[in-house]
Amino acid sequence: MFDTIKIRKDFPILSREVNGEPLVYLDNAATSQTPRQVIDCIVDYYSNYNANIHRGVHTLSQEATDKYEAARQTIQKHFNAQKAHEIIFTSGTTHGINLVANGFSSLLKKRDEIIVSALEHHSNIVPWQMLCEHTGAVLKVIPMNQDGELVMSEFDKLLSQNTKLVFVNHISNALGTINPIEVIIEKAHQVDAAVLVDGAQACPHIKPDVQALDVDFYVASAHKMCGPTGVGILYGKEKWLNLLPPYQGGGEMIAEVTFEKTTYADLPHKFEAGTPNICGGIAFGAAIDYMNTIGFDAIANYEHELLEYATEKLLAIDGLKIYGTSKHKTSVISFNLEGIHPYDVGTILDKMGIAVRTGHHCAQPIMDYFKIPGTVRASFAFYNTKNEIDKLAEGVKKAKMMLS
């Protein structure tokens, strides 16, 4: 049995009230909550060994450096990267994507092609558009179907010798669809294209093995996996990271500087200019340890149970439509009540202490596809309960009654 009562005790925020009601937090796909173990780690850092890293000879600096590098190794192990220096600390998924996009600007030429999917977080399409403007490369889009799945036969048609890079999310944030990245990676490699996978939504639910996937780049954010905001990672195969030029100039990323020429530092420092989010990186390691203690298999099983339970409960409500109906999805339910604006539903739910996301979820192309202004999105984490899902269903029924 998955012991949610015990697990919930790890999360101080879950015992607070919102608008006089116990908080029901179902916006985990936007950001997850933080367990005491991670909060303690942050407090410990600032209380005991806050110092700049890789620079000082003094004890504090050494301790901070050791912990930071130990976190990198924890992350390396978690993602099964071959080498620790293939893990680059970033400020989050967005940063990682921009780093890769920027790096490719010196590798692409006119008429090269980049393939992205129709399921992307729209802010993550922008770096590729910028890259194309810059280089004259062409952006191609893998379309999706009514279930919110990528149409793989179309992907096959888009792939060619001109394809240099494929960007796809592992799991869609708006619909929860798990994309067949294994197939995408294998096929892209057949034409020698590199693949960058956005794992922001996948990492809270599954443990990706970057070597087994043979993925070239993989990015994630700590704040969606029980860690703090403002920190994340870029995994890149060593050969690719060596090939890409540095993204930002600054301290830490250089080996030698004269006014004539600067020699860049080795990996991973080449991509880590300036003082990083030291505490964040260390706490990210603690978050990964925490999630592994619970166990990703147990998490996946339990969340699947929550998804099925919630799907059944919500579909029992007349006039409720779920968007994203792939058989392969994580614990995300995007839905609308017929004739009712998602914003109104979200507002009523908030009054009842239930936190959901409403809007286009930064996936405007998906909303345009379904011809809707947005959806209400409930996303479940391993610390949510069936009782909370009952409250959600009750809340939605009440919203429907009040609003129609």
């Binding site: 914003y343 202004p373 009040m402 609003l403």
Partner: protein
């Protein structure tokens, strides 16, 4: 009635509600019953970029007073718009410019006018005042 008098009247009305449900039900009903804006103004030109719910505003000057019409695709937003229109429409530009919106807090709807709320209402009030400023210049 002056803006202040209307605001006091609304505060009185809302003081009769016991809880959020009654307040919201009242706003939802307001939102449902009022035709707020002429269809010809529900275009991109009159839209206020508010992220999640769309808000349209239009203003005319009649007998030296500004007459506002507005609409939204979300019903709670529309209910609040109905209240704002009741307060600000048919008033002299100068009074609109000087009016505050503290009454929103008193009727328990403060959260909807938080600048971080993605419903377009804050921009809408700004827009109402901008119209008033424009007509004020026209009048003087």
């Amino acid at each position: 009635m002056t803006i202040q008098e209307i605001q006091n009247e609304i505060i009185d009305e809302f003081s009769m509600f016991d809880d959020w449900e009654e307040r919201y039900q009242y706003m939802i009903d307001l939102g449902k019953t009022l035709p707020l804006i002429d269809a010809q103004y529900k275009t991109e030109d009159y839209i206020i970029k508010g992220c999640q719910s769309k808000v349209w505003v239009h203003a005319d000057l009649e007998n030296d007073k500004v007459v506002f019409t507005a609409d939204s695709d979300a019903i709670i937003t529309k209910g609040i718009i109905a209240i704002l229109i009741r307060v600000f429409s048919n008033q002299h530009p100068k009074d609109i410019i000087e009016a505050n919106t503290d009454f929103i807090d008193e009727i328990g709807l403060k959260e909807h006018l938080s600048p971080t709320r993605a419903n377009g209402l804050v921009s809408m009030i700004k827009q109402l005042k901008m119209y008033a400023v424009a007509y004020q210049t026209q009048l003087s």
